[in-house]
């Protein structure tokens, strides 16, 4: 299955293409954790994960064409 990934800001350094947005092929039913492992995202790095706009974590199971958005908690506004 293919999922869409968006790594915001400097987290794009963990993108295989170097771009913030990319697609990735994963085993069916793969978890967010499997995705993070595949791209070599450091385990200890502080992050927020949204799957299709909902707060998620490494145990969340992914489906075809899901959008995974990962950002570093920062302030703004």
């Amino acid at each position: 299955m293919t999922v869409r990934i968006h790594l915001l800001g400097y987290l794009a350094r963990y993108s295989p293409s170097g771009q913030e947005k990319f697609k990735l092929d994963l085993e069916p039913d793969a978890t967010v954790g499997a995705l993070l492992g595949k791209i070599g995202f450091p385990a200890g790095l502080e992050k927020m994960i949204l799957v299709n706009g909902r707060q998620s974590d490494s145990t969340t199971r992914l489906g075809e064409d899901d959008e995974v958005f990962i950002f570093s908690p920062a302030t703004g506004g």
């Binding site: 968006h6 915001l8 800001g9 400097y10 987290l11 350094r13 913030e20 790095l45 502080e46 927020m48 949204l50 299709n52 706009g53 909902r54 707060q55 959008e67 958005f69 950002f71 570093s72 908690p73 920062a74 302030t75 703004g76 506004g77």
Partner: protein, 585 residues
Amino acid sequence: MARDYIGGRGLGVYFLNKESDPRCDPLSPENLIVMATGPLTGTGAPTSARYMVMTKGPLTGAITCSNSGGFFPRELKRSGFDAILITGRSPAPVYLWIHKGKAELKPAEHLWGKNVPETTELLVGETDPKARVACIGPAGEKLVLYAAIMNDRYRAAGRSGVGAVMGSKNLKAVVVLGEGQIPLANKDQFDQIQNRVMTKFREGAKVGPSPLSQHGTIGVMTPITQKYGVLPTKNFQQGTFDGWEAISGQTLTAKYLQKTVACWGCPVSCGRYTKIDEPGFEGEGEGPEYETGFALGAMCMVDNLAAITKANYVCNDLGLDTMSMGGTIACAMELFERGYLSEKDAGGPLNWGDGKKVVELCRLTGYREGFGDLLAEGSFRLASRYGHPELAMVAKKLELPGYDPRGLQAVGLNYATSPIGGSHCRAHMAYPEMVGIPKPIDPHEWKGKAKLTKFWQDVFSIIDSAGLCLFFAVRNLLRPELEIYPDGILEYLNAATGAEYSLTELMKAGERTLNAERVFLIRAGFGRQDDSLPERLTGEPFTTGPSQGKVSHLEEMLAEYYQARGWNSEGVPTDAKLKELGLRL
């Protein structure tokens, strides 16, 4: 008194309750303006560049807490004056010149009608090259109800119309030259805290650049609100905007950013200095930040970042609050779309997404020309004039910030109960609900949010009163738990002032300020009916996106909130609560 109220915002409400009549007409000579620094302002504590403007706001009729950074606040503090109180009305335009321990009113006829950059330049020229200026532009002179007080050219005490109050007093500017030192009660202790806090901050920065520094608030918040489906779009008719990438900070960095900008003593530097060369939108200056991008962009369906940035420049030059400006234009566009506002009244068509029109409307509003004269009254009065006040996206008549409360429950409760009306800065509940600071909480759950919002509001009043910016404080000076006890601010305050606050006392001071502001509101005639949100947000669920089917559960949260505050069911502080805090109605 200073101990009970800390300074800054606390000091402001203390003087407003003591020296002014909350029932006064905000634009009458009776209204009082308090410009107050906090005990940490200018001390070198990170982000200690802030001051607060408090008065009765003409847009809202409520108390104001208009906060700004830059360089003026430190200069004021160094002048030896912690705060300025302004009342009455001058028969002719004047400016206030503070230097060498004196404050004098000087003629300003030659400045009347000048915009913010012109005024700033002329005043620095005729006073001192090192002087710092806070002034109004034409919008403040023309009593636009959301006119700002602009300091250091680009920084705004933006909200609630504090600039119009200055204009009503014929006061064009406050100019300060601060030549003194800011005393610290225990400098060694202060330096130790500073070393520890900054070392930790710099270690964090090694992991990755601060997202705020990299792409500004507009780069952090635009993608996040869009992904959650809470980016207010088309006057809050939608929670996502198809053109969001075109108006995000990443696009700003790639196309228009010249350099990042920091306030005095700030290690974050979220400010953007930008330049636009595109025909029709040429200009340069600071901005836009997230709230401007959402208000002049997504709210009006404008996906042209050059147009948004140009509109921001116009607002800065004329002295307008970009948030209320954008909210009011969006409201006008919806009134026009629904056929309630005619092309004749609007001076032409008002179509969603027309960036050129948005720029032009900002200019017209700043000078109160043509349709700008109606826009200058804000969205509530505009929508009411055309028979549809429900289309004004406001709380206490103040245009709402860029986080839709249908998908963020505590955010909505804070909008409704913030003493100044629709503001995110009196407790930024999007931190825990959306950004995960200090840790994530379910944004759609309303239960338990009342107590948390009350707690956050009390702590944010401490940040505001101390003279700090929210950005650094929330991440670095508060306890990393949902109960964000301000341990770091306590340390800094005690070292700077020698006040030897306990944490309990400091929390009480924060709560006291909130309640003193509530006392002002009750005396001014506000009550439970004013702790409200537009019907759209409580009654019209999102039809698409991650928050599909959701509305704000304000009523349920409000009852719990009053209980947590020790207020009765009408939102009035009980006698016991007033006594506990040493306040009187």
